[in-house]
Symmetry: C2
Subunit: 354 residues, 2 copies
DNA sequence: GTTAGCACTCATTAAACGAGAGTGCTAATT
DNA sequence: AATTAGCACTCTCGTTTAATGAGTGCTAAC
């Protein structure tokens, strides 16, 4: 049961108008503003049909029509045209996103800030999940007699280091040996794997000094692995939503804020989403059924995948926002590419239902 | 112009009642609930006097009285008695605050969480400012031919390290020499000082290889210094305030949230506050004139000073909250004491106007 | 198939009203 | 002289009522 050309035009007009003004739109105003060459009465009839098909709703009898989630879905999948970013937005992204591998986290946070500034919505950005990363080698570097640096290098080139302070002195020999043993034991295994497997015994404890050192180092090692696995989540522009008419009720605003207070939960949810630009509208989300959530992925060295997203009411400028996010993530992926590497990171445009 | 005993009793009763119920309190309910042995009429007369002296206000003619900032000030300075923590709260703090020097930031964040949970207010915690810390030594450790670890150790024992990736290979000699030169140049100077002074030239560039290496390392060095100087600010329990009657207006809530969005600004404000338990009420704050802000300080090794605090409406349980914060900061300072060191960190009880 | 016309619906706003809580004053009481 | 009882007065808050107006849905004409 396809929609006629005119129905699509009317639906598009209603969406455009409602997104703009946040108020139920009536037949008369459609007829006046959008030049469809038909009278309000005709539009009324069509609207009635569209409502029957589930694309529109009625807050109450004598109010205008409001697009349903289904209408937005149709719009995102079929009607929406890619928007060209304004020169201002492009400039903003290019200028302010001085990404560099060194300042990874900082860049990611900047990206989230930028996104919320441009879209006037709440935004977030996540550093890549490193579940699949494998360990390349582990090194223990001496600092002073009771202090050492533990360094973990992943195959993907990620390097993390932590300073450990021991309660007893160590010897250089023990240090070297432990480094070697740990590397042998863990090389090629994923962080996840190493952290979960409790096989910490087999690192070798032949020598007394080594065994003691191992005991001191291991907890730090595990903690560092955990830190490597932890994706960082940055949230920006939370207060933007206070300016939106759909959040003038304190309860709505509270719900919204509380969602973000549970960072870890939210992170999990977002990690589960597909790659590329993903739009989930209203009911398609299992929580926040009156929100739309748009995420996009950026790539590091064309491999690791991080996410960036915006959250707002289902009424939002889908065309603009998806375009902005595509531009932004391409820009990010570009910045995070290893000098030598190739591969375009596949920052595609898959609009898909989750 | 001192207050009579009875006036103090009445004032105390009004504060207690208002703090509890958040509604203007009338003469009749005071007479009924608090056994002062006088009739409502007498209380009315006293209330009238108290109002004239600026301790009470009237939302409108025929409403009950509400304590003014001045009244809260008097209460905090004179009337308030130290409260004993409930066993539950004590246990909570003792159990959950498994502080350890290694996981400094984590512990601080936990403390903020805990504080907001116990007080049902918004809380924050700041890591210590290290402006005054001086550099002990700088070390460059080799990782692979183009990667090295830069380590900065402060006199106070703080250790920070960053991984640097160079575009060109380096030599071991150059590395050692640069480490030595940098240590000589910067040893004993404060982080602040080093960062501000642009005297990066005199690190010595006699050798070609050294000069090139220096050029690559210096930006990373400065960035790391900046990171060391940056105090981290953790905010928790923001959404608690939505449950308070004073924040049912969306505008109020928005203002509140927006304040915290500007983390850096807020950090600056908080750094400027005195040590110990400091309470600033309503107008005493230059922003947030309808809030009370309570901060307390904890100590690291009896020296460095970090802050923890709560924010809420001027109507709050001053006695409980200050007691909780004192207990909590003492606990923190205790945990962050170096094994060898002494000195009680002077976590005093100075209630003072800012 | 389209449009004009018109009755009808329903949210929103303003005004009117009564109830209730609390004060402030005066006069009586201790 | 201090305290209290009594009462008129004020102001908020919730409810009711009425008017307004935007917008639909239907019918009949084009």
């Amino acid at each position: 049961m396809d929609l006629s050309e005119r129905q699509l035009q009317i639906l598009q007009a209603i969406i455009t108008d409602y997104v703009e003004n946040a108020e139920p739109v009536g037949s008369r105003s459609i007829a006046k503003k959008y030049d469809l060459g038909v009278s309000p009465a005709t539009i009324r009839n069509e609207m009635s049909d569209l409502e029957e098909m589930g694309y529109l709703t009625h807050p109450h009898t004598s109010a205008g029509r409001v697009p349903s989630d289904k209408a937005y879905r149709l719009y995102v999948n079929e009607l929406m045209k890619k928007k060209n970013l304004s020169a201002k937005d492009k400039r903003m992204i290019n200028d302010r996103l001085s990404a560099s591998r060194d300042e990874f986290d900082r860049t990611i946070r900047h990206a989230a800030e930028l996104l919320s500034e441009i879209t006037h919505l709440a935004s977030f950005a996540m550093t890549p999940a490193t579940n699949e990363e494998t360990i390349s080698f582990i090194k223990l570097l001496p600092v002073d007699e009771r202090t050492l640096i533990l360094m973990i290098v992943s195959e993907g080139g990620q390097i993390t280091n932590t300073t450990l302070r021991l309660t007893v002195p160590y010897t250089q020999e023990a240090l070297d040996l432990l480094s070697k043993n740990m590397t042998v034991s863990y090389k090629g295994r994923t962080l996840d794997d190493v952290l979960k497997s409790e096989i910490i015994h087999d690192v070798g404890s032949d020598i007394e000094a080594l065994s003691s050192l191992k005991g001191s180092v291991m907890p730090g090692f595990l903690r560092t692995l955990e830190d490597m696995l932890n994706v960082n989540l940055y949230m920006e522009g939370m207060t933007n939503i206070f300016n939106l008419p759909e959040y003038t009720s304190i309860d709505r605003a509270r719900d919204f804020m509380e969602l973000f207070a549970r960072k870890d939960w939210f992170t999990q949810k977002m990690l589960a989403r597909d790659n590329g630009v993903v739009v989930t509208i209203g009911d398609e989300n299992d929580t926040m059924k009156d929100c739309t959530l748009i995420t996009a992925t950026y790539h590091v060295d064309g491999k690791l995948v991080g996410k960036i997203g915006v959250i707002g009411p289902t009424r939002m400028k889908y065309d603009e926002i998806t375009s902005i996010m595509e531009y932004l993530t391409n820009n990010l992926s570009e910045s995070f590419r290893l000098p030598g590497s190739t591969g375009d990171g596949n920052a595609g445009d898959k609009k898909q239902k989750k």
